[in-house]
């Protein structure tokens, strides 16, 4: 339960911190830290326009997307405290339930009969498919270190601070997970959420036709997804008493948000045809970690 509350709390700030980081780096005053939330609240109050081409799929998809992320959040433990849903292999459920949300987003984009949204759907399905092995290989190496196959078992018996090697491995995995989360959340260097040309978007172009409550739901799901991946990363480093753990959790979430903000300030988006190479290299790195652990 604690992890769910903390993830919700982190979701309130995460996007705001990214936005603040970017405006500080650019030397602008920029919007306040709660601006993304205000945007969502404004959308929740608005009416909705549906495309005449769309069917019931288009109306159900935002609900399934939100539900999938909520279920995934429920899987995440807080240190040794298991999440609401905890069983052997729950990280497989975590990944697959997120895929369910993606599945519905993709078909909803195709439902609008728009060529731009079809393009976004095509890219999203392809890139997220490529990113998945990296996540599974990281979880596989964690399972191998700890001899457990559930989130809570893994994070309860993980000894990050036992040795330099343990800490180093955790750091590398944290970086990889952060990169995976940036792909899954459609951020730089894969996708630029602030681009103004539909041809260069991935996620943003898929939701062009969503409006009102549905759009608010999709945006808030995105914030939640950030905090969720931040929580997985934070779990690598939790230790000590509950208060200490909460402190580490908050610190890791802020660091992740700042890291994303800095990346977006100082990097340009990759060319589309370079994205697969980048994503493959993540899986390759995860493979190397796994093999280092196997051969220890």
């Amino acid at each position: 339960m604690l992890s769910i509350l903390l993830i919700f709390a982190a979701a309130l700030f995460f996007s705001g911190i990214i936005v603040r980081t970017k405006s500080v780096c650019a030397g602008r005053r920029g919007p306040g830290i709660f601006q993304p939330l205000k945007d969502v609240v404004r959308l929740f109050r608005k009416g909705t326009v549906y495309s005449t081409s769309s069917t019931v799929i288009f109306r159900v998809a935002p609900l399934v997307y939100m539900a999938s992320v909520l279920m995934a959040v429920a899987c995440i433990p807080f240190g040794s405290r298991p999440g609401l849903i905890s069983f052997e292999g729950d990280f497989v459920f975590f990944a697959y339930v997120l895929s369910l949300g993606k599945f519905f987003c993709i078909i909803a984009a195709l439902d609008t009969a728009s060529s731009f949204e079809g393009m976004g759907a095509s890219r999203e399905s392809f890139y997220s498919m490529l990113a998945e092995p990296a996540f599974f290989l990281i979880m596989g190496s964690l399972a191998l270190i700890t001899g457990n196959t559930s989130f809570s078992g893994i994070f309860a018996s993980l000894q990050t601070y036992g040795s330099f090697f343990g800490f180093g491995a955790a750091l590398v995995m944290a970086v990889l997970l952060l990169l995976v989360s940036m792909i899954e959340n459609s951020r730089l260097p894969i996708d630029d959420p602030k681009t103004h040309l539909e041809l260069t978007m991935i996620h943003e172009v898929m939701i062009l036709d969503n409006s009102g409550f549905d759009l608010g739901l999709i945006l808030s799901t995105g914030y939640l997804k950030f905090a969720m991946y931040g929580a997985v990363i934070a779990n690598l480093f939790l230790c000590g008493s509950t208060a200490c753990s909460v402190g580490i959790f908050a610190l890791v979430q802020v660091l992740c948000a700042v890291a994303i903000g800095l990346t977006e300030s100082f990097m340009a988006r990759f060319r589309m045809n370079h994205n697969p190479e980048f994503i493959f290299s993540l899986s390759a790195a995860a493979f190397i970690i796994l093999f280092t652990i196997v051969n220890l």
């Binding site: 060529s115 759907a121 739901l217």
Partner: protein, 564 residues
Amino acid sequence: MTNLFYTAPDALSLWFMAIIVIVFTAGAFYGADYLKAYRSHKRELRLHVLNYAAVFASMLALPMISNAVAFLVAWEIMALGSFFLIIFESWKPETIKAGINFFIQSHISVVLLTIGFLMMYDKTGSFDFAAIKACSTANPGTCGWPFALICAGFAVKAGFVPFHTWLPVAHPAAPAHISGVMSGVIIKIGIYGIFRAITLFEINFATAGKIILAVAAVSGLYGVMMAIVQHNLKKLLAYHSIENIGIIGIGIGLGCMAKGMGLPTVASLAFAGALMHTLNHALFKSSLFFTAGNVYQAAHTLNVEQLGGLFRRLPLTGFYFLIAAVAICGLPPMNGFVSELLIYLGLFDSLGQMPALSQLGITASIVALVLIGGLAILCFTKAFGIVFLGESRSELPEMKEFGALRSVPLAVLAALMLSVGLCPGFYVGLINNILPELGCRSVALSGTVSTIGIASACLIAVVLLLALVRRLATRRKPVSEGETWGCGYTVPSSKLQYTATSFVKTYSQTFKGILKSGFIDKAAASYIRFTERFAFLQNGRLQSYILYGIVFIVVTILLTMALC
């Protein structure tokens, strides 16, 4: 007189018989309505119905038979019957061509099986399965080759790469209910055979498992990678059968490896996953083929590039297709997730307990399974999105939703799929009866299995809850309809939509090296070039043929004399 049948079919037989009954019954009802379109072809219809019954009967007999000769006879009835079922539309030349392809390949399977059983007869002097078991238990490790041949024979029927080439040809040619039954259960009888061979033979399972695992992982990846670029809906589904047979094979291969290396928990997880996926694939693949049949009879084409927007015209068909598509991608809350999770658990469990080189193989299998899942999503978002959503891409005829004879079997299949997803405990309990027959303990995962069911139910509940919240929150808000946002372009047309080709363009460009490699075709072409050198033998002169016959008989007699 030896007993041809098991006096009491064991749990393994019963599991497969249950699958056969479910799919054949659903297929019979669906087919009764589907064949109404062919009312004028009385002669073909009579033959078709007769063969459907014959194939059903022989399929039901196969798991009960405990004698190699009787098994081969029933197998042959099934193979011949399915051949006639496939060539129902015999007035089309391409159907005959596909049928003959199937005919030849299924007899390659018969040849391999016959040789395998004869080798065992040579050792035991009996065709009885019990004798095979007794012999191979008494001399473990000596029956490797018969086991390999028998498994290869079954692999042809199951459609493992490189024996898969008949699937993408036969499925599009057959009527929809036959494709559904063929992909749902006829290829599964090959899986049954492999499982039966595992119970009978005592061999070096570690090595056998590694080979099966490698073949299966390649089949799975190859199947789905080829499926994505198909534009014929039924051909796409046929390639997906290869993929799913690959997933089942990953379970069987891992189970054999674990059995050989003495890892009972891994073995039971892997075998349970494979058995569960056999049921799951039978359910969702037959639904997919049935709905594809609806699409074909309503739109008169299976080319996805000409379809689109069918969801509004055939809402039930679209709904059942969507359910089966979510299931085949292995996504919760449907059934595919349960079996894939069992196999994943087996793979992750084995990772820490195997020697280093095997770990490489296991890791590769995990990556393969993950990629298969991701690629399946790419493929089925394409299939569902392009066929059922958006606007139609060509002038489609008037269509209306089909009657109860079609929707009831589909509803039953969908309910079964959901029941596996929501109460996996019941089905795992059934499989636990089979595992001792394969030499494993039962799966000790009651906690995990029930939690999966609860989690899946919660997922559905959360979606419904969110729908309620949205309804309450937007009760007084204006809801309007308008044209899709064209990014400033004001005369949109359905021609501007993303097509199936463009949807998978990034994918097909990235993997063009593999897709265009001619994985099997090159080998087949060079084999044909080789055999063409012997074309002079087929000269059409009767005298030469009689000469060949005499030479064959003389050589056989001389060889027998020399050997004895």
